[in-house]
């Protein structure tokens, strides 16, 4: 077996794993695991409405940021 095959497979699998790791790190930094109770019951309150709300909230924030003039 050519050694580049080993190298490639190692690279690909570690890369795939790293993507998952980065996702996890992002979630931790984002505060998604801060409150275990809320995190566990989050699935109950998830749906299309919630997704829309989250997007609207983001938009609202951007909007406010643009117009905001702190005294």
């Amino acid at each position: 077996m050519d050694s580049w095959v080993i190298g490639m497979m190692l690279g690909v699998s570690v890369f795939l794993g790293a993507i998952a790791l980065v996702g996890f790190l992002w979630a931790v930094k984002n505060g998604q695991f801060d409150d275990e109770q809320k995190f566990l019951s989050a699935t109950k309150f998830d749906g299309e409405d919630e997704l829309n709300d989250a997007v609207n909230q983001e938009r609202k924030k951007e909007e406010l940021k643009k117009n905001y003039k702190p005294e």
């Binding site: 050694s3 080993i6 190298g7 190692l10 690279g11 570690v14 794993g17 790293a18 790791l21 996890f24 790190l25 931790v28 930094k29 505060g31 695991f33 801060d34 409150d35 275990e36 109770q37 809320k38 019951s41 109950k44 309150f45 709300d53 909230q57 609202k60 924030k61 406010l64 940021k65 905001y68 003039k69 702190p70 005294e71």
Partner: protein
């Protein structure tokens, strides 16, 4: 009970007649009705479905004016400006029952213009709200929370708490990276070791080495950063600590492995680098995780002090910020409210509960001219008093300051492992260096000598040492928790094992804390329902004791025609044309009833139409197992002392009964704390056991404060250990668990040291091949973890 319906909002059940009917919906109050309509209008009615009709607290309608939230002083104290320039406040939301409540609050706030973020933590009800101050004011946000049936008040999210959360999060991230990389390195290492025995081509080996090297890099420099930092601070303060050993060991190994990879001969040790960092990091994390947050304690105490008082000015009552009350202002206190300032009564009279300050459960009667003390609670008194001190100098404020300083001053006994690691690290680094020098002097190549030197550090891997304490204490914590003994911080287990003095509070700790009937004298047959109804109408502890005693007879309560309670004496009532008297001897004398009865106990006389029909003797009983506890502690060499706010006779009797030789009576909260401080001066390690607010100073001062679970909230918050079942057997168990755990910690440390005593000479002699080093590292860690698990079995055999 078929006519009971539940309120459409709060779901509490009431009979149909009292409800507000509106179509199919019933409401228990206007507040609930208001919230119900609001939620429907806002399209938030799916809240009821989400909350599964859980019972809620009906909304309060009388709030203090929310405009106080907009004042400059409030903004200065609580509102921060975040990096985007938006305002941010930390609130505690009251009335959260379920995760749907969190959902509702967040939703309602998000719907508001100008609110950028509302994040509520379900576990501790703390919320962070970010808003644009030019669009919406904080008072409007608070109004919104109130309008949907909750309440909010600000708290000062101290730096300590933010810091603790940040630290914890940083550890999560570092551990995630370290564990991910280590796991990958391990399966690459399997290929390496397989190749070591069965042979593999040089370029495959190099590829594996490079892969391991890439994975080990973030572990060393990202996850392992705290060790470099720790080592740096260690060097700065001239202490050789474990961090220095880990940092130098890992870095040297890492550099050497890179060299090997480039030279393409020899064995790389990347797996050891990542394993050391990962294991020690986990050990450190366990310690951080079980650290008690002192900031939380102070928040709870602050929450218990209202921020406003009612004052009388120009014949009108107005609210005033507590800090703004000046000496000479007239303060109004109604029954059931807390007195927040010191002063002298100018109008009204009534009884006060001073147990917070004195520990005496007996209410105290006060009249015009008497002084009231902050921190006490009015039981039935509607009074006005002239403030003689401002809040900063009041008794209550002094107590809080004292408490804060005691919590911060709490003595910390250095953990054994920390002390040990200093010597250990110094020794290993010296050995490694000597080994390298000796090998190089007695001609070997630089490369070989360097490798042998490194193998000493690698094999002396501090993993086992780092895990010895946290793993054992975690098992100990679990064992305690399963028995209703909550240790709030892992390190306390070790501290408690070194205790030599036990200080006990009397009421509620040694004794049950409630008077119980021990003897009943009946002089004439009477309808016991009369007595039962009489004592049921009072909330005095003695009356309560008698009603508890009579409860077993299955008596019905009858309606009394007239009822007056006379403070410090008893009660007078008429019923079915009979005149009833119930109370102490003084009450009988005042009403010209003659009686001759002597007893050491509290006595309750029951009189029907001026004839004594029954006498009850009551006493605060000693808890089961008190004597055994004192005895067994004596055998262990622990000195036991009792402190009480009661007077000498009662103290003496209880002390005699349980066999305590040292006792102090007439103690105030401050004198209890002073007593403990004096013990510290004598170099004693002290445990304080208590249950009430009057014990908190002493609890905070002691090395370990143990609190009965039924004690006051503040005491439970301040204490380090909580006994959920209030029993003295749990107290004995707590001692046992801590000693067993400490024994195991010591054993773990011996195991890891003994292990090193064997392997280090081997490494110095150059007999250690990489595989052995890696295996020995894992085995020593496993040994320590396995040994800790033994606590459970050890406990069962006891």
């Amino acid at each position: 009970m078929s006519n009971k319906v539940s309120c459409s909002h709060c779901h509490l059940e009431f009979s149909k007649e009292v409800m507000i009917v509106e179509g199919e919906n019933y409401f228990c109050c206007n507040g609930c009705q208001g919230v119900f309509h609001l939620l429907n209008e806002e399209g938030l009615d799916s809240f009821y479905e989400k909350s599964k009709n859980i019972k809620l607290t009906p909304p309060t309608e009388n709030f203090e004016d929310s405009s106080t939230f907009n004042t400059k002083s409030f903004y200065e104290q609580f509102v921060k400006v975040n990096s985007d320039g938006f305002s941010e406040v930390s609130l505690i939301i009251e009335g959260i029952h379920c995760s749907a409540c969190v959902w509702l609050n967040e939703k309602a706030l998000h719907k508001m213009d100008g609110v950028i973020e509302a994040n509520i933590n379900f576990t501790n009800n703390k919320a962070t709200i970010v808003w644009a101050d030019d669009v919406v004011k904080l008072s409007q946000i608070i109004d919104m929370i109130r309008s949907i049936g909750y309440n909010a008040f600000a708290y000062d999210a101290s730096n300590q708490e933010i810091h603790a959360n940040k630290e914890r999060k940083a550890y999560y991230l570092k551990m995630a990276v370290a564990i991910f990389a280590s796991m990958n390195i391990m399966w690459i290492a399997v290929a390496q070791y397989a190749g070591y025995f069965s042979g593999m081509s040089g370029d495959v080996k190099t590829i594996l080495n490079i892969a391991e090297g890439i994975l080990a890099t973030p572990v060393l420099f990202y996850s392992g950063w705290i060790f470099f930092r720790g080592a740096y601070y260690g060097i700065k303060t001239k202490v050789v600590n474990m961090d220095l050993l880990v940092a130098t060991g890992a870095t040297l190994t890492y550099v050497y492995s890179i060299y090997i990879t480039m030279m393409e001969h020899g064995e790389a040790y990347f797996d050891s680098v990542s394993m050391i960092i990962t294991f020690v990091l986990i050990g450190k994390f366990l310690e951080v995780l079980s650290k008690k947050n002192a900031a939380d304690t102070l928040d709870i105490i602050g929450k218990n002090i209202p921020s406003e008082v009612k004052i009388l000015k120009d014949n009108t009552i107005s609210t005033c910020r507590l800090d703004d009350v000046k000496v000479g202002d007239i303060v109004v206190v109604s029954s059931g409210e807390r007195v927040l300032l010191d002063g002298e009564i100018t109008k009204g009279s009534g009884t006060f509960d001073e147990s917070n300050l004195t520990g005496e459960s007996e209410p105290i009667y006060k009249d015009v001219g008497d002084s009231v003390v902050s921190g006490t609670t009015s039981i039935d008194a509607d009074i006005q008093f002239r403030a003689t001190k401002d809040f900063k100098h009041s008794t209550l404020s002094n107590l809080v300051t004292l408490l804060e300083s005691s919590i911060n001053k709490k003595p910390k006994i250095q953990q054994m492992a920390n002390r040990l690691s200093e010597y250990f690290s110094t020794a290993i680094l010296t050995f490694a260096f000597l080994t390298f020098v000796v090998w190089w002097m007695w001609p070997h190549s630089f490369e070989t000598s360097f490798m042998v030197g490194i193998s000493v550090i690698v094999i002396a891997c501090p993993c086992a040492l780092a895990l010895a304490t946290p793993v054992a204490t975690l098992v100990g914590l679990g064992l305690g928790a399963s028995r209703g003994i909550l240790f709030k911080e892992a390190a306390q287990l070790e501290t408690m094992a070194k205790i030599d003095t036990l200080v006990l509070d009397k009421t509620g700790t040694i004794t049950v804390g409630k008077p119980e009937v021990i003897k009943e004298h009946i002089y004439k047959e009477f309808d016991k329902e009369l007595l039962y109804s009489l004592v049921k109408s009072s909330n005095h502890p003695i009356a309560h004791g008698i009603s508890e005693y009579l409860k077993d007879d299955n008596l019905d309560e009858i309606l009394l025609d007239e009822f007056t309670q006379i403070p410090a004496l008893g009660m007078i009532s008429t019923c079915r044309g009979l005149k009833l008297l119930g109370g102490n001897k003084k009450l009988l004398e005042d009403n010209d009833v003659k009686v001759e009865f002597e007893s050491d106990n509290s006595v309750f006389y029951f009189v029907i139409d001026e004839e004594v029909v029954a006498i009850y003797e009551l006493r605060d009983k000693v808890k089961d197992g008190a004597k055994e506890l004192v005895n067994s502690l004596k055998n262990k060499g622990i000195q036991t002392i009792m402190l009480t706010g009661d007077h000498v006779n009662i103290a003496k009797k209880v002390a005699l009964e349980v066999g305590i030789e040292n006792y102090n009576y007439n103690q105030t909260p401050q004198s209890k704390a002073k007593f403990i401080e004096a013990l510290h001066v004598e170099n004693k390690h002290v445990v304080m056991v208590g249950d009430g607010v009057n014990d908190i100073l002493a609890l905070a001062q002691a090395d370990i404060g143990i609190v009965m679970g039924s004690g006051s909230d503040i005491a439970v918050e301040v204490g380090d250990v909580v006994l959920l079942d209030d029993s003295l057997k749990s107290l004995a168990d707590a001692f046992k668990i801590s000693r067993t755990t400490f024994f195991l910690i010591k054993q773990n440390l011996y195991i890891s040291l003994g292990y090193n005593a064997i392997t280090i000479p081997l490494a110095m002699a150059g007999y250690v091949i990489p595989l052995v080093a890696a295996i020995s590292m894992s085995v020593s860690s496993l040994l320590v973890v396995g040994n800790s698990m033994r606590i459970r079995y050890k406990w069962k055999n006891n």
